[in-house]
């Protein structure tokens, strides 16, 4: 197997946005969180998001389609393995199903409304959720449990902080779990940077985030802890409002 660095063709690192007050320092946790809106990595998969490339794709250029699939299939597979704890074979199946959806619908994609890579990730994620939900309904998969490989996988990938999880879900739906429903509301009230760090930390280790963002691991932990604290506060408010 070959290993490819995922930080794009230019090797440029992601930079933190500079706050209105000046350079953000790790000591300033709040400012760090607030300023956490990533500048896009120059050159990283930017070719896929260019209008000229999207036009080729939509015009039916088979080489463009193959290039898209070849470029993204391993990052997508990795995302599925980490996010849902899937086996690689299952991830491959879901990605194959996703490519068919993308093939059928890419002509309707509007580059002015979204980035192509983000749209593709969303298609893949939703395909995975649909598949997993169907398998659960058909009894091929039990609802989430601590031993479930897709949560287990996430824990193993180190994407979950060092909490001792004791999951015992009977019903994995949001409606069946008031806390999950309340959390959804609380999460929606957070700033995008705070939400982003919580999502990333579900799939990546502190070290990985630090490397990609070119900050210290302590900086990442501070940012995450700040976001989690904001989440707790927001959740308390949602619960209080519900009485």
């Amino acid at each position: 197997m070959r290993t490819r660095a995922g930080n794009g063709s230019t090797g440029t690192r992601l930079l933190l946005a500079v706050s209105a007050d000046g350079i953000v320092t790790p000591a300033d946790g709040k400012a760090l969180c607030d300023a956490f809106s990533l500048e896009r990595l120059g050159g990283m998969f930017e070719d896929l998001n260019k209008v000229s490339f999207i036009n080729k794709l939509q015009a039916g250029d088979e080489l463009a389609l193959d290039y898209l699939m070849t470029t993204l299939e391993f990052p997508l597979s990795q995302f599925l393995v980490r996010h849902f704890g899937l086996r690689h074979e299952d991830a491959e199946d879901i990605i194959n199903e996703s490519w068919l959806k993308i093939y059928r619908n890419v002509r309707g994609f509007k580059p002015q409304d979204a980035r192509l890579t983000t749209w593709i990730y969303s298609v893949v994620k939703n395909t995975a959720i649909d598949r997993l939900r169907k398998q659960t309904r058909e009894g091929q998969r039990t609802p989430l449990s601590a031993n479930d490989r897709y949560i287990g996988g996430a824990i193993k990938a180190g994407s979950v902080p060092h909490y001792q999880l004791n999951l015992n879900f009977e019903d994995e739906t949001v409606e069946g779990r008031p806390l999950v429903r309340q959390l959804r509301q609380a999460l929606a009230s957070l700033s995008e940077p705070a939400r982003n760090v919580l999502v990333m930390r579900q799939n990546m280790t502190t070290k990985e985030i630090a490397q990609i963002e070119n900050i210290s691991e302590a900086g990442v932990r501070m940012r995450y802890n700040r976001a989690f604290k904001d989440l707790r506060v927001a959740l308390k408010k949602v619960m209080a409002d519900e009485g």
Binding site: M1, R2, T3, R4, G6, N7, G8, L38, R40, L41, M44, F45, G60, D61, E62, L63, L65, D66, F74, S77, F79, H83, F84, E92, N96, W99, R115, T117, T118, Y121, S122, R133, L144, Y150, A154, Y163, L165, L167, F169, E172, V174, R177, L179, V180, L183, R184, L187, E192, R195, N196, L198, V199, M200, Q202, N203, M204, I212, F228, L231, R232
Partner: protein, 204 residues
């Protein structure tokens, strides 16, 4: 409320359909992670994708061919319609890309191929044996016409560009009986192979 409970619930939420949508920034960070690439996975994906797309395109086996396209030209036209690369077709029939290129451009004649390779191709393209017969007849007719235009006698051997391989057997005679015999012989071999594969939907 314990942090542990919040984290559990967050884990469930972010893996459900109710999770907030992925943002550009988060996706870019995911893309920045190093990955391990497996070339075999790329070939598998190409093959599976080609099979799925062509199955959608030809939900029923193709029995009738429009026009006078040769076998290679037809393959190329369907590939183009399906928006597939030669690499994808090659992966699906377990051949290399130059094989597909030579076939499409006519540098390799289907009469030169192993009947099993033809079966593999017609299974992929869901081409009925009747459709294959038409394409083979078109291919042979085009080769004969080409020979006639070049003013060569069939028994003079070949240095023909276009339809026949330079090192191949002597070009197909423009005698229609010989052409029919050649087509029938190849069809019989392909039929036998399809029966062995239990691809009866292409024979009935």
């Amino acid at each position: 409320m314990k942090d542990k409970d919040i984290l559990e619930a967050l884990t469930v939420l972010l893996r459900s359909e109710h999770a907030p949508p992925l943002t550009d920034e988060v996706v870019d960070v995911f893309l920045a992670l190093p990955v391990e690439e497996d070339p075999h996975a790329i070939e598998r994906r190409r093959a599976n994708f080609a099979i799925a797309i062509i199955s959608e395109l030809h939900q029923e086996p193709v029995r009738k061919i429009e026009g006078k396209r040769s076998f290679g030209e037809w393959i190329q036209s369907i590939r183009g319609k399906a928006r597939l690369t030669r690499e994808a077709i090659a992966a699906a029939v377990q051949k290399d890309t130059p094989f597909i290129e030579r076939l499409e451009t006519g540098r390799t004649s289907p009469f030169k191929l192993d009947p099993r390779d033809i079966s593999e191709l017609i299974c992929l393209f869901r081409l009925h044996i009747d459709g294959l017969a038409q394409l083979l007849a078109n291919t042979a007719a085009a080769a004969s016409e080409n020979m006639r235009r070049m003013g060569r006698r069939p028994d003079m051997g070949s240095a023909v560009t276009g339809l026949m391989d330079p090192d191949s057997e002597p070009p197909v005679s423009h005698n229609s009986k010989t052409v029919d015999k050649k087509v029938d012989k190849l069809l019989a071999s392909v039929r036998a192979d399809l029966r062995q594969r239990q691809a009866t939907h292409l024979l009935e």
